[in-house]
């Protein structure tokens, strides 16, 4: 337990779980084979393991530099590795975040684009994003314009075009228009990027270009589409596999309401902004307490812009009550003097809210590792931490 010095022993479980999750997210296409398959393809499994080891490196500058070197060598040494596309993707992503060697980044990106000419290849998104980043590091405006011309002429993947739109503001509207047109040719909902998301971002660019009415029209339309989707999904019988999409639809509409709240805050239409925060909250997240903390903070942000410290601190205290996050406390500190209150009073108020909002939970009766039967009531004490995990 020395690894997490200062943190109580039981909390280390979380950190351990979490770091594993992070490592898995980076290598989506590379999975360690199940035991049965190992004997059949020993060479490939060895390479998979080697790659997983390289990817697991720490986040120190020295370890990151080493990882870049090892990934590049891996590509050179294993030209027939079946998941080479994903190795390139990861290498390009790391080069992009590292940002120290634009020449190498451009060379590797060029190599990847030539090696995987299929416009649908997932590596192209990372390659194009890395090229834009490298050109930006060099402050090469001409290079960026030239790259955008190439992308517009050559690329047909909506994901690539979206990446280019994000990277090159000057050409964003054209990129999004092409992305939307290409996406319309393939109506499948399994392919990234979704057409509604592309249209939403396109409207965002319209707004930046001062075409606010056009932007609002598209946004309103997309919110209506979302609402319709939720109504349809909700009408499905419980247990219908399609209902899984419901939480995503709710999250999407929640995000959209939140963005509209920010839009109206910027336009100093604070009441309208607050209406959208409320709609976002009502759309429903899957974690009520986290959601309460975040929407209270959003409301507080609106009040901050509106210059209403009393209402702002009230929302900050609600956020703190939902989640005792040191950052939430830090946001209260600068408001104390302005509102004539103390931290102790704010914490006491948060405590009252917490007590009022605490909800009863169901009990359980489960088998323990040693064979005993354990109930929630039996293990409960002044404070009980119930941790759900799986061993990693």
């Amino acid at each position: 337990m020395t690894r997490f010095g200062g943190v109580p022993a039981f909390l280390a479980v979380l950190a351990f779980d979490g770091s594993m999750v992070a490592a898995q997210q980076l290598v989506p296409a590379v999975r360690v084979q199940p035991a049965a398959a190992q004997s059949e393809k020993p060479a490939q499994t060895e390479l998979d393991k080697k790659l997983a080891d390289i990817m697991k490196s720490e986040d120190t500058p020295a370890a990151s530099a080493k990882r870049l070197e090892l990934l590049e060598r891996f590509i050179r040494d294993n030209p027939t590795f079946p998941h080479l596309e994903s190795v390139y993707s990861n290498l390009l992503m790391f080069l992009r975040f590292d940002g120290k060697d634009p020449a190498k980044t451009l060379a590797i990106a060029d190599e990847a684009l030539k090696r995987f000419p299929d416009p649908k290849s997932s590596v192209r998104t990372n390659a194009i994003a890395a090229e834009y980043a490298a050109l930006r590091t060099r402050k090469d405006a001409k290079g960026i314009a030239a790259l955008s011309r190439q992308v517009l002429a050559r690329e047909t993947s909506p994901a690539v075009l979206e990446e280019a739109a994000i990277a090159d503001e000057a050409n964003a509207l054209r990129m999004y228009r092409k992305a939307i047109a290409e996406r319309k040719k393939n109506p499948s909902t399994d392919v990234y990027a979704w057409i509604d998301d592309l249209r939403w971002s396109y409207a965002d660019c319209l707004k930046d270009a001062g075409r606010v009415d056009e932007a609002l029209k598209i946004w309103t339309e997309l919110v209506d589409v979302n609402k319709q989707q939720i109504t349809t999904l909700e009408a499905l019988p419980k247990g219908d596999p399609k209902r899984i999409q419901l939480s995503r639809a709710r999250m999407t509409i929640g995000n959209r309401y939140t963005q509209l709240a920010t839009f109206f805050t910027d336009r100093k239409e604070y009441d309208r902004a607050l209406e959208y925060v409320k709609l976002a909250e009502e759309a429903g997240g899957y974690n009520p307490l986290e959601a309460t903390a975040s929407y209270a903070n959003r409301r507080a942000d609106v009040y901050a812009k509106a210059g209403k410290p009393d209402l702002e601190i009230d929302q900050r205290i609600h956020s703190l009550a939902a989640r005792l996050d040191p950052k939430a406390r830090d946001k209260i500190l600068p408001l104390l003097e302005k509102t004539g209150t103390t931290l102790e009073a704010a914490l006491a108020r948060a405590g009252e809210i917490r007590k009022a909002n605490a909800v009863a939970v169901k009990g359980f009766e489960l088998k323990a590792l040693d064979g005993r039967t354990v109930t929630l009531d039996a293990v409960r004490s002044n404070v009980t931490l119930v941790n759900f995990f799986f061993p990693t």
């Binding site: 040191p326 009863a360 759900f388």
Partner: protein, 99 residues
């Protein structure tokens, strides 16, 4: 503190896992995959529920990001009647850094 394994398929790995981490808290078996979700709305791991002395839920935390443990620790300290943020200095903002 109790820990509940949400993946019954891995039950047999638990003794070694406990040994490796030197964990001393009770480890319970959920029995079936749906248990955590249907009983407590747990859709991902790690999920932590913090219950107060009345057995009521005051905090739920899903996933792990660096710093998550600070929040869980603060929740527990608060319920024990201690200062939840003892020893945690306010983070320096850009304004403060400029001064």
């Amino acid at each position: 503190m109790v820990a509940i394994n949400t993946n019954p398929g891995q039950d047999e790995e638990l003794p070694a896992w406990r040994e490796k981490g030197h964990y001393t808290f009770p480890i319970l078996l959920s029995g079936d995959r749906e248990f955590a979700d249907t009983t407590y709305g747990v859709f991902g791991t790690p999920t932590n529920l913090v219950l107060n002395a009345d057995g009521k839920l005051v905090f739920r935390h899903v996933g792990y990001r660096p710093g998550s443990e600070k929040t869980v620790e603060a929740e527990i300290r608060d319920l024990l009647g201690l200062d939840p943020f003892a020893g945690i200095e306010p983070a320096k903002t850009n304004d403060a850094a400029k001064k």
